[in-house]
């Protein structure tokens, strides 16, 4: 094996320079030049201030905002600790947590969509199902003293269907809807 030492070391070093430095750096240069917004995390700005990433969910608790799914990432939507609950299907902790979430959401349990009471795999899921969004319309409308139909229309605008009608699931980007709510109705604060 000793006579293979030179080819092993030399080819490894050459390939490391090419694949470990040249390739990622070239891709970085290219992406930064062509799609700087996407390459830098799809950041969303309001009045010049970065308020989040379109792709990363954040914690919403106020009644006048659309709220996302429960999150197992740190204390909730912590991108430095991405991950799921990893609770098994029969784990009593899972049943307890889901029962609590369902109770907190109220309304008819039978029609509650599963994404409303389950944590996502990343803990950073930026989306909810259209059904879960629909259930929140009345609350948002009441908190903002506005017409429920207008809120639903706004949610519909930000609902994305399956790709090519087949791929993935229909979804609502929570941050996008909340930005639109704030923009359309000026303040996010309850107006009472």
């Amino acid at each position: 094996m000793l006579n293979q030492l030179r080819p092993a070391v030399m080819s490894l070093l050459a390939l490391t320079l090419l694949l470990g430095l040249a390739y990622p750096l070239a891709m970085t240069g290219l992406a930064q030049a062509v799609v700087p917004n996407a390459a830098n995390g799809s950041l969303v700005r309001v009045g010049g201030r970065v308020v989040g990433s379109r792709l990363i969910g954040q914690m919403f608790t106020r009644p006048d905002y659309l709220q996302g799914r429960p999150s197992a990432a740190g204390d909730g939507y912590d991108p430095t600790q991405s991950g799921g609950s990893n609770l098994g299907p029969l784990d009593p902790k899972l049943a307890d947590r889901i029962a609590k979430s369902a109770a907190a959401l109220g309304g008819d349990r039978r029609t509650l969509p599963a994404d409303a009471v389950t944590t996502s795999a990343s803990g950073l899921d930026p989306d909810i199902s259209p059904e879960f969004a629909r259930r929140q319309v009345a609350r948002i409308a009441a908190a903002r003293h506005m017409d429920a139909a207008a809120v639903q229309a706004l949610i519909d605008q930000h609902t994305e269907g399956r790709f090519a009608g087949l791929i993935g699931e229909p979804r609502v980007n929570v941050l996008a809807v909340n930005l639109a709510l704030d923009q359309r109705f000026r303040t996010g604060k309850p107006q009472s």
Partner: protein, 571 residues
């Protein structure tokens, strides 16, 4: 269940198998040393690297020479990666000043990436600097994949030869595969991913204030370039802890589709390339058919399992709903199920949903796919040599039944080859079941588990299956960053990788020396439905006999427990 879900699963598999042909044809050209369209750009680089490598890169190697070169290359790769991880704190491109890894974690991680496993006992976002991700992990994502694919060339040449000796040159194979196959595919995929929203930057943290005024730290980095080769090379080691479920690794249903095609397409392509080089195109088609058929059944089974009502949801009063715990809304049950089947059918190990939160049967099917030996379609290269081993065993079993010396692709299959084939196959139960059995009685191992009872046992069994099968996915509740877990998992991965490769190379050495026979009336055809059925039977019986007792203690018990619970509220 929705018809769109079934259609998505079918479409994904059809596209994946379809792309295997152009990929396989290209790969065959590369392994045969013929011209490719990118030669004007890549040939000078190839020549330069091979010149640096010296005269060893220009000779034809016997199986021993080829294997020695392969092992030397992997040892060198291990040493470099281990050094990068240990010294991370002193190296540049580390904006967060992350310290070097502990010795056992660095050892585990280096073995993990060199063996194409990408088991991760760490969280990428809080452990790895950008330099470690690029120069350390990305490089081994390429080279461990190229190592596997090189063996496709060696094995195919063994079957093509007539009383031959040489299997080709490892250095030439590994460099050509890296340059002409993996690099161009990765460049294209990285660009597509970056356009779709996968970050590609040298920054690492972005601090922001959210809409509600909370503080949030976004983690970014050179993700797209690593994500591309992570899928194409069936590596599966995520930039982030949440892997392909993380919106920055896999932002949309479209990127998810691309990721799935990428993590299986080239593995199927290896079979196509093997068929072309060995002069056995129809036989390769039969292998692809058997692999794809089993994969499709597994994907459908996981989808069925994941759309059943689960006890936790039923108890909370929800009507039947998909098991969305540990799944992303943009993917849902169908895209999560087919991803799970493809990542465990290949030895990829990327996950877009948390397998630990799957229903017992959903997670159990994923686990069984790993235990079948990572051949559906398996890792790049490793899937091909794994399925060829199974094909040899199939013709051997058929030969026993009719009392003839079996042949495969014009080569007589005799005692020596079957011994090496069985030696390779038996390393998996030895590593997986042996380590699981030991760990199951040791408190130091059990400390790392997040669950008890049958689910805890499945967590344990999944970990060692994932290591031995060089998969790298996990029932991720496990805390595997302790010396016991880091060291035994490293041993598991080494046995599963090189304990398999060395007998396969010895087998290739035996096959290359045999005369190439023309098929006679007594030859069992290995390109028809009968052979596909026989091959599927051998794969299932071998895997089933080895692992069914263990599966019965984990996923199956848990499934019956679940039935007992879900039946009650419905009554």
């Amino acid at each position: 269940m929705t018809w769109q879900g079934w259609a998505e699963i079918a479409l994904t598999l059809v596209l994946t198998v379809a792309i295997a042909w152009p990929l396989g044809i290209h790969l065959a050209r590369v392994l045969e040393g013929r011209a490719t369209p990118l030669d004007p750009l890549l040939r000078p680089v190839e020549r330069a690297i091979l010149a640096l490598a010296g005269p060893q890169a220009a000779t034809s190697q016997t199986w021993l020479g080829y294997t020695a070169a392969l092992l030397a290359f992997n040892v060198a790769g291990f040493v470099l990666l281990y050094a990068v991880l240990m010294l991370q704190g002193m190296l540049p491109l580390n904006p967060l000043k992350l310290a070097g890894l502990s010795p056992d974690l660095a050892f585990n991680t280096a073995i993990s990436f060199v063996t194409n496993t990408n088991w991760q006992a760490y969280s990428g976002e809080t452990t790895m600097s950008n330099l470690s991700q690029m120069v350390g992990l990305t490089v081994q994502n390429f080279l461990s994949g190229a190592t596997g694919i090189a063996i496709v060339g060696a094995l195919a040449r063994a079957f093509a030869a007539h009383r031959g000796e040489g299997l080709g040159n490892f250095w030439r194979d590994v460099v050509r595969v890296s340059l002409h196959v993996l690099l161009p595919l990765s460049v294209v995929m990285a660009v597509v991913l970056a356009v779709q929203g996968v970050p590609q930057t040298l920054a690492q943290h972005i601090d922001i204030t959210t809409l509600e005024g909370a503080h949030q730290t976004l983690v970014v980095g050179p993700v797209a370039s690593q994500e591309a080769i992570k899928q194409i090379g069936t590596n599966g080691g995520g930039f982030f802890n949440a892997n392909s479920a993380h919106p920055f690794e896999n932002p949309s249903p479209l990127t998810n589709l691309i990721a799935m095609i990428a993590m299986n397409g080239l593995a199927f392509g290896c079979v196509v390339a093997f068929g072309r080089i060995a002069g056995a195109r129809k036989e390769a088609r039969a292998l692809v058919a058997a692999m794809a058929l089993l994969l499709a059944v597994a994907a459908g089974a996981i989808y069925l399992a994941e759309t059943q009502a689960t006890p936790a949801l039923l108890q909370a009063g929800l009507a039947s709903a998909p098991n969305m715990e540990g799944k992303e809304v943009r993917f849902g049950a169908a895209a999560s199920a087919v991803f799970a089947a493809m990542t465990t059918g290949a030895s990829c190990g990327a996950v877009n949903a948390m397998h630990e939160s799957f229903t017992p049967l959903g997670g159990g099917v994923a686990l069984f796919l790993i235990q079948l030996g990572e051949i559906l379609p398996g890792g790049v290269g490793s899937g091909l040599y794994g399925v060829v081993v199974m094909a040899l065993l199939s013709v051997f079993v058929a030969g026993l039944m009719v009392g003839r010396t079996p042949e495969y692709l014009g080569k007589k299959v005799e005692a020596r080859e079957i011994k090496f084939a069985m030696l390779a196959v038996l390393i998996l139960p030895l590593a997986i079941l042996g380590l699981t059995a030991v760990a199951a009685v040791l408190p130091v191992a059990l400390k790392g588990l997040s669950a008890s009872g049958p689910h805890g046992f499945t967590e344990l069994l999944y970990a060692y299956s994932s290591g031995g099968g060089n998969n790298g996915s996990a029932f991720a509740g496990i805390n595997a960053n302790s010396p016991w877990w880091n060291d035994t998992m490293a041993l598991d991965m080494l046995l599963g990788r090189f304990g398999y490769i060395v007998p396969v190379m010895a087998m290739a050495g035996a096959i290359v020396a045999k005369p190439k026979l023309a098929p006679s009336a007594g030859t069992l055809p290995s390109d028809n439905g009968l052979f596909i059925g026989l091959l599927i039977g051998v794969i299932l019986i071998l895997g089933g006999l080895q692992f069914f007792p263990a599966l019965a203690l984990g996923p199956l018990v848990e499934h019956f427990q679940m039935l007992a619970r879900t039946a009650a509220p419905l009554r």
